[in-house]
């Protein structure tokens, strides 16, 4: 089971990264500092670092935030594609 405050700590972290895109590279360059700053419980930091969708979901993290975290961490659950594949053919 997740600690009661794990989802809220992670939600605060992700909402900060939504509002401050310039800090998103910290996921790769200073993840420990980022998790410490937002007081993510130590027991769940490994999941934040390496966990996949289902492990993150089990922590109680909102589904939309699970997706954002996985994308920013470079392990998206669905493959990237250029939107221009469609949008260049709209007319």
């Amino acid at each position: 089971m997740a600690d009661a405050d794990t989802p809220s700590a992670v939600h605060n972290l992700i909402e900060h990264l939504v509002a401050t895109p310039a800090d998103r590279p910290l996921i790769r360059t200073d993840l420990d500092g980022l998790l410490q700053r937002f007081e993510v419980p130590e027991a769940h930091r490994a999941v934040m670092r390496d966990g996949q969708r289902d492990e993150l979901a089990r922590l109680g993290i909102h589904g939309n935030y699970v997706i954002k975290w996985l994308i920013w961490s470079g392990r998206p659950s669905m493959p990237f594609f250029p939107i221009s594949h469609y949008f260049d053919r709209r007319h």
């Binding site: 589904g63 935030y65 954002k68 669905m78 594609f81 709209r90």
Partner: protein, 268 residues
């Protein structure tokens, strides 16, 4: 009085074409078909009802229903979507907030994400329309229930028909759905039977039945992302009893979505 001259709904995502080339082209062609039909109606106002993906809202400050009231809106640009500005119809949006009353919040500074911008970007690639973005955010607990969404559509209809200028032509475009599970173990599941049944109610004009649904049953049968169909139910509430046609439907587990689009006609 103004008039609702057409209503449309479509999924508000696209995905990688690899492995689903044929299906992706059917979906894209269907979305473009809806775009062509909207443009042929030459609306004075295009109301886009959709949901945000926690890009403009925070869990601690839930905004289940809001209307973006800025005169110019700059898209967020998520998924690499174009950031060309949108012409917001301020007179329409501010008037609707006042008319709708409690529970409908005016929003400033919204940067629409793909929830708005995939449907709008395909329907209006040249940014020719004046747009009224209405958010029915189904990502919060408690999200608006179908009965509330249906009632919101009724208020939108009443506003258009009693407050807006004579002969103003309004098209409503709803975005989101159909069944999908997002960021959870069930991601990739699509409930085709549920999607078909929901679409049948929409295009069959059996809209009162939609208002009797609950978010609990939608979440169970169509997933956490399936709650986005509340935007479609707003459309139904604004055009009660109107029949229509299914423009496209493809279940695409690789995109984690039942992908659909339909049109409602006010004359049928």
């Amino acid at each position: 009085m103004g008039r609702i001259v057409g209503g449309f709904a479509m999924s508000h995502v696209l995905g990688a074409p690899a492995g689903v080339e044929a299906q992706s082209e059917i979906v894209f062609a269907g979305m473009k078909e809806i775009g062509a039909r909207v443009r042929a109606l030459a609306p004075d106002v295009l109301v886009v009802v959709s949901s945000d993906h926690m890009n403009n809202f925070r869990l601690g400050e839930p905004v289940p229903v809001g209307v973006a009231v800025d005169a110019v809106l700059t898209p967020l640009g998520d998924m690499g979507l174009p950031k060309d500005p949108i012409d917001g119809h301020t007179a329409f949006t501010t008037g609707f907030v006042s008319f709708a009353g409690a529970g409908v919040v005016p929003l400033e500074g919204v940067q629409p994400d793909h929830g708005i911008m995939i449907p709008l970007g395909i329907v209006d690639p040249d940014r020719q329309f004046s747009v009224a973005p209405v958010y029915v955010n189904t990502v919060f607990d408690d999200a608006p229930e179908p009965a509330q969404s249906y009632a919101l559509g009724g208020r939108l209809k009443a506003y258009i028909e009693t407050v807006r200028p004579a002969d103003e032509r309004v098209v409503i475009l709803a975005g989101g759905g159909l069944s999908h599970w997002l960021g959870v173990p069930e991601e990739g599941r699509v409930n085709v039977d549920w999607d078909n049944a929901f679409v049948d109610l929409m295009i069959g004009g059996e809209h009162a039945a939609l208002a009797e649904m609950t978010n609990l049953e939608i979440r169970q049968e169509a997933g956490n992302g399936g709650l986005e169909v509340n935007a479609w139910i707003v459309l139904a509430g604004a055009m009660p009893g109107s029949r229509g046609d299914l423009v496209f439907y493809e279940p695409i587990p690789q995109w984690a979505s039942g992908m659909g689009g339909l049109a409602l006609s006010p004359d049928v």
